[in-house]
Amino acid sequence: MKSAIEGANHWRRALPGAGTAAVMALVLVLAAVLGLIAPDPAVAGCIALAVLVGMIYAALRTGYSARLSDAGFSSVQLAALFLLLAWLTYLAEDAPPAIAVLYLVAMVFGMLQLDRTRLSILAAIALAIHGTAVFMLIDNGHKINLAAAWTQFGALVLAFAWFTYLAGIVQQLRARLSEAHRKLHDLGLEANQRAARDTLTGVYHYRHLMEALEREIARAERVGKPLSIARVDLDWLGSVNETHGPAAGDIALKRFTEAAAGALRDVDVFGRYGGKEFLAIMPDTDLKGAVIAAERIRAAVGREPVPDVRGRRHLSCTLGVAEHRKGENTRLVISRAEAGLNFAKAAGRDRVVALDAEGKPAMVEAG
């Protein structure tokens, strides 16, 4: 599958040059049929074009072109086309208008593929070798209409200058398009990141938490390692909101999440379960380890200052801890942690409650 995709990519990169060569070959055949050039140069030109396309494709296919700054071989293709046209001019023993048209076709290709500097250099080379071919014909005694040849040469100079100017504009448009594409890509990444995060606190939101818990339960059952969770509630947030306004409540929530998330390991997952309710997922952790981690969260949150509420000057939180049992789904393990949390809240808040195998509060760490 990978090689098929890579093959398609090679063809896609070779296509502009191959298309230009095909157009040139068609014009050559037409010119030969109409008697504007001799059949032999036309056939030779078509063969040379086919060989050129084949070589470019081979260079792309083998990866040779990847080492070059012009990985698409656009400069090489254009230089080869110009050489070919000059050679055809010499073979045709004239400077036929058909070949002038082909120069323009080649310049369109160059305008779309190259920057202004490279195209102007190639255009200058093209004019030089075309002029050399015409001069050699004159020097060899061929009868050429000089006025027509000079007119054609002048027209090519003007056309090449115009194409070179347009190449700059195309280059600017391509740069803007590339920049817009990059920004769009960055925005897409940011949107994905935001989609998994709670907008106020920056921690994971409910859906991501549930996906993570399902994943961790499956992993724990597969590898036989323990998994524990903690349902965490920020205490007295309603009182903070009522006493100091919702902005103070938002600040309290942010401080709480920073402290709680900071007290966990990198492998743990912490997120907003809803409202002021949060959930910590602790892989490879048994109940005892989870109680220690929960107590760490409680201590970290308890160090965060808060405007005076009910005589308190620091935040506090209540936690219910449960260890996953084999065969238990997300709903059941969360329900058990939540039952522990409810008991802890009713028993005075600012404490950690873990339920044992019978569902009794087995480990209680009171603040």
Binding site: Y206, M210, L213, E214, G238, Y273, G274, G275, E277, T330, R331, I334, S335, R336, E338, A339, G340, N342, F343, K345, A346, A347, G348, R349, L355, E358, G359, K360, P361, V364
Partner: protein
């Protein structure tokens, strides 16, 4: 703001604190003075179920205790750990209708007694069926307006929020 006291039907989609959930059970009660109270069991495929009660236009969250760690009641006082809650009122609730997966003791009797206890940590509710030993305790948490919404109302609110944000952005330009 969404109206408070909205009555939900069984299997209706609701949004509780931003979580899309389904009404999996519903109980309709009638109080002694004729007022109606609804109790809902909300569920979603992954999270823990939620029990809500709606009466007199307000919602409250009912938080269940571990089955093996129920509070202790002596006379008019309920004790949880070292915290004490004192009885402040009793409700007699007649069960009018039960549909779906109804929570608590309601499906088992035509009448339940609901005692309300208050303490420094909030409000507790103890429910029992007269003549039976079964009882259930809940920690009560009053909900603010907008914490429970029908899915339709939630969509309308979100749409209005989006339009307002769009208008703000246009005005800033």
């Amino acid at each position: 703001m969404a109206p408070q006291g909205e009555i939900f039907m069984l299997d209706e989609q609701v949004v509780f604190r931003g979580r899309p959930m389904r009404v999996a059970g519903r109980v309709q009660f009638e109080g002694s003075s004729g007022q109606l109270t609804f109790r809902y069991l909300l569920s979603d495929p992954t999270g823990a179920p939620v029990i809500l009660e709606e009466g007199a236009g307000r919602f409250a969250l009912l938080r269940a205790f571990p089955p093996a760690a129920q509070p202790q009641t002596v006379d008019n006082t309920v004790t949880v750990g070292t915290e004490k809650y004192t009885l402040v009122g009793v409700r007699k609730l007649k069960v009018l209708e039960v549909s779906g997966n109804a929570p608590g003791v309601a499906p088992r009797a035509p009448l339940i007694l609901s005692g309300i206890f208050e303490g420094p940590m909030g409000t507790l509710m103890r429910e029992m069926v007269p003549g039976m030993t079964t009882q259930v305790y809940y920690l009560l948490k009053p909900l603010a307006a907008g914490e429970v919404l029908s899915a339709a109302q939630y969509a309308v609110d979100k749409d209005a929020e989006g339009r307002a944000a769009g208008n703000r952005a246009l005005n800033e330009d």
